[in-house]
């Protein structure tokens, strides 16, 4: 997936993810762990981006998430920009991304990004935050798999 199609998918993906993050994520809270739709979109789409594109994608996701959260915008922008850059770097390795890789990458990115937020802007209670991060990582990893299949179908409609 390249050029205008990638840009369109990123734009729509971030828009939908932002909306879902605001309206859906709080309702899908399971024991403190709720999905982070922006991180899911960032991780899955990052696999299809070049490093520069990945960094911009992460920057945009961080801006949106920080704006929606209403606090710690710097922490979100920093962690998401680096995460986007890192996801795009993975695509440089010679392997075909599959749903399991996308799920695993998303889970790892979720843990690292949230730990980054924790270091830049430490929360009041560390232990519950870490537990919630691990829960979110699992949920995000699971949700990333169908999203990856959808993105792959969009990038190449003839893939079976």
């Amino acid at each position: 997936m390249k050029g205008v199609r990638l840009f369109s998918v990123i734009l729509i993906g971030l828009w939908l993810a932002g909306g879902c993050q605001e309206g859906l994520a709080p309702r899908l809270n399971l024991g403190g762990a709720s999905p982070d739709f922006l991180l899911i979109v960032l991780s899955v789409l990052g696999l299809y981006c070049k490093r520069r594109q990945g960094a911009f994608l992460g920057f945009a996701a961080g801006m949106i998430e920080g704006s929606l959260a209403g606090a710690n915008l710097s922490a979100y922008v920093l962690t998401r920009t680096i995460a986007g850059f890192a996801c795009a770097s993975i695509s440089h390795f010679e392997f075909e991304p599959n749903p399991f890789v996308a799920g695993a990458v998303t889970a790892v990115v979720t843990v690292l990004a949230n730990l980054g937020v924790m270091f830049v802007s430490p929360p009041g209670a560390i232990f519950p935050f870490v537990l919630a991060t691990i829960g979110s990582a699992v949920v995000n990893g699971v949700l990333a798999m169908p999203l990856h299949l959808l993105i792959r179908r969009l990038s190449d409609p003839y893939v079976r």
Partner: protein, 258 residues
């Protein structure tokens, strides 16, 4: 480039914090909220709908039973309110009867157990066993109802004021000296009062009371209000139409003065 984005993020974070401290959103947050709000509402609403739908499916039986129970409770509450209102009204009426002046006679308070509007009669649940006798006055808190006509051991019938067969003496106590006359029933909303003095100074709105020229009916019980006055020059009589103070259909209890 990565460093540039990070530096921009940190700088803009400070801008956001400054705006937040001053109580406003930064421009990016405003745009992000404006753009994502429709999706947020749609997605949140959809999840709520699906959640409600799933809850309805899994708890259908319980919800139906709960709904039924709530309806029954509502019905019971409505009936309870109606019953309470009825009892409150009954208490008010009984208090009114208790507060009636006794006119130097003993009051026997009783329920109306039958009402025959076309016969101009009511039946009461007391009789000779309670000391009730023919001709005794029957009153309520609004005024005179009628007189006892037939007495059984535990039951009696009262001839209402509206009956044409009932004649009693009446006074217009609004005037001084009060003109006197004879009162006869005409209909449930009209009584005829013929004054003994053709020059009696009667006018509309005057209140008519019992005269007391009777063994059983004490003086000063309200009968009604004058709503029309006629003068018949041929017979030399002054006649007033009186609207009865008591509307029998609306009362449930009365007092007999024995």
């Amino acid at each position: 480039m990565l460093l540039g984005l990070c530096v921009f993020g940190i700088v803009y974070g400070r801008v956001q914090t400054a705006r937040r401290v001053s109580g406003s959103f930064d421009p990016v947050a405003r745009i992000v909220h404006g753009v994502s709000d429709p999706v947020a509402k749609l997605s949140g609403g959809s999840v709520d709908f699906l959640g409600d739908f799933a809850y309805g499916l899994t708890h259908a039986r319980r919800l139906t039973l709960e709904n039924e129970r709530m309806r029954q409770l509502l019905q019971a509450a409505t009936l309870y309110t109606e019953k309470t209102d009825q009892l409150t009204q009954e208490i008010d009426r009984l208090r009114g009867l208790e507060a009636l002046p006794d006119h130097k006679k003993q009051k026997v308070i009783t329920d109306i157990v039958g009402y025959s509007p076309y016969e101009n009669r009511i039946t009461l649940a007391v009789g000779s066993a309670q000391g009730i006798g023919v001709g005794m006055a029957v009153v309520c808190d609004q005024g005179l109802v009628g007189t006892v006509q037939i007495v059984d051991s535990h039951r009696c019938q009262v001839q209402l004021l509206s009956s044409a067969g009932l004649t009693l003496g009446a006074l217009d106590l609004t005037r001084n000296p009060p003109p006197e006359g004879l009162l006869n029933g005409e209909s449930t909303s009209k009584l005829g009062l013929v004054f003994l003095d053709p020059e009696a100074p009667v006018s509309l709105g005057d209140q008519i009371f019992t005269s007391g020229h009777s063994e059983h009916i004490p003086p000063g019980i309200l009968i009604g209000k004058v709503i029309a006055v006629d003068f018949n020059p041929e017979f030399g009589t002054r006649r007033a139409t009186v609207f009865p103070a008591v509307q029998v259909g609306r009362i449930r209890e009365v007092a007999i003065l024995k």
